[in-house]
Amino acid sequence: MNKGYLCIVLHSHLPFVRHPEHEDFLEEDWLYEAITETYTPLIEVFERLLNDKVDFRVTISLTPTLISMLSDSLLQERYLKHINRLIELAHREVERTRWQPEFQGLAIMYLNNFCRARDTFERFNRNLVNAFKNFQDLGKIEIVTCGATHGYFPLMDICRESVRAQIKVAVSHYESVFGRKPLGIWFPECGYQPGQDEILKETGIRYFFADAHGVLHGTPRPKYGVFAPVYCRGTGVACFGRDLESSKQVWSSIEGYPGDYYYREFYRDIGFDLEYDYIRPYIHPDGVRINTGIKYYRITGSEHKQPYAPHLAREKAAEHAANFMFNRERQVEYLHDFMQKKPIIVSPYDAELFGHWWYEGPMWLDFLLRKIYFDQKAIATIHASEYLYENPRNQVVTPSMSSWGWKGYSEMWLQGPNDWIYRHLHKASERMTELARTFSHINPDGLLKRALNQALRELLLAQSSDWAFIMGAGTHTAYAVRRTKEHVLRFTNLYEQIKSNSIDERWLSDIEYKDNIFPNIDFRVHQ
């Protein structure tokens, strides 16, 4: 019998970036890179585990924006174009490095990676959501939902109608994609504001995750800390707290695994390293050097980077998986003695950390899940919903406001470079509520209904926490500023046109075509 559980949560999210009006749009690469480097490698890990009959549990949040992009035929088409170009570049690299065997081996590795990514992409009919759905239907993966566009809820508390819309749109989108209701939610940026769990209760969501201090600073003091869920006072929705120790081992760029000298260096990419004319066709059409994903060096630990050696990195990944498991075993044994019940250790990570930033991450996860299944008895992986089923009696606590962002609260999204957005976002929310209340009873159809629904789409898109994050992080903020302004302005124009009964159909069609997310949205949810 195991003594406790490990709940691995991979939060997968990208903001909605889709520009049919441009042939080639740089920020769309965020999606393409994540498909090649994170989503397809993870899918391949799960397939291998299934193939080898390894029982495992992993929780994955797929945000509605990410699902929408993965299912979008234009972006699928563009991804193929993108990966084909990369494959071509990898072929040229194999040739170019003929007299440098240590690099040629790596060029071949990337060529294989890219071809495999394309195969996996094609195998699931170009829609990777199908893959995750299969794993969920097999019970190995539990997919939780998120805010519709990843709005940061604590800074939307002044207009809870928007929080409600974010959650309700996400839930109905989830149902239409996965054919069942979501059991859990990953709050965008893990941002929890007491009282917002009421909306979860309304929509039938049973649990969410909070950062460690969200639970530890809850009232009353949680008896088992973060190692057992608590029920929110008043709603009974379960809250699982994040375990900081296991987080740190993976996240920390200094003492965490990804910083190991044998692992691949993220910042040395041939898009920047190689001669300009040669690399020119594979970077941005405007001639801006960008990451290609082909990176030949390992972290090394000094200025003179050594070539990456895959077999050494693989050994390290196995070693780190063993270390992670060992630490969890000890943790669980210790906790089990005190709690006299099975603890749950919740370890959430940004999915894009795996493969994209930490190249060996998917391999590490593969090793870890295998080892847990074959090599020990103290821990088992579990879904949060299974834990609740097994341990229905839990303490009632009001968790504390918290997030997993910088400093643990709202500062990342509320500081000098981004605080100006809230007066506009809140005003738009207030107006959307007004529209929803005015027109709900009338049951509008045709043009008016289209305008109302589009207004809600624009508002939701403006609310993505990513824009504030990028502004706060301070590099290349122009795109984020523009997206915020554009959606707010489109919303405002729609609002004014609706109020003055002068909807411009041509313009409406144009923005429906550009911002085509959530085709079945219903503006009435914003109340």
Partner: protein
Amino acid sequence: MAILRKIKERLKKVMQKEIAPAKVKGFFLRKAKTQKIKSPQRITKEVLGAQETAVEKTKFSTPAAVRVAPAMLQELPWGYGADKIVLQTRDPWWIHAYWELTSQTLDRSKERLGDVFFNAKRVLRVYDVSHIIFDGTNAHRFFDIEISSEANNWYIDTGGPGRSWCVDLGLRLPNGEFITIVRSNTVYTPIEGPSWITDEEWMVPDEMFARLYGMGFGLGRSSPVGKAWQERIKRALFSGILASPGITSVTSPVKIPKLRKFWLIVNTELIVYGATEPDAKVTIQGKEIKLRPDGTFSLRFALPDGKQVIPVAGTSADGIDTITITPIVTKETR
């Protein structure tokens, strides 16, 4: 167990500091940030958070774009023509206020107050309204922040986690009288350490209970046990919740790379190109290559130090004629 005791003691110290009564009286409050003791929890969180931010940033990697985005056709308005002030919580200590005042409202004040208006200070009056229904007069205490007429938002150091706050934007007249122009919503700053309330309440959701009841299981494994045990757990686990037990992780021997100031990189590549009949077969170092439709070819190799012998062999389509040309290239780096 030594480690547990240490954690517990550290925690005790931290918590004693935390509950030291906030010295908030009178008009101005500027609590020096440095006096605050950071709990171990908070430190880990900040370091971790900064690292997470750095990693998350790589998701949105965008190079220094040379492209110039087309100008916005429209800009966001400065305001929306209403008197309004909104408060939001930034963290346990700080709240943020943004506001808008219409010129009509200001004109009305000017008319009413006459010359006094120009001697009045524009202030934010910050009320501590914890655990009360605020009616404008019953705040536990308040303090004022003078603001300039151009400011439209402000970060306020409340000095008090675990309290509720409300802010009036108004005018303070030379005689001390305060006139509220607009009042904010109320926000709560979260506590910054574990709660002192330890009353436990446990719950089994109805539908879960129904399931258990039906199965005749009673309350399952987590039912309360003997009092002595519970006492022990309460003490022992309390340390456990702040930091996981003393498990040392194997840390990678990683140091942060030093920032380079000046640097130079030199690489060499070799281009081998030529032409033949479009339907001929060409090999370079024994490996067949693809010709362009016009029979030309061009290959590019990274050129390491040393000698490269590069036989290029062309064979006619009928296989009868073969020509081999062998460039030999030596590269050395000094």
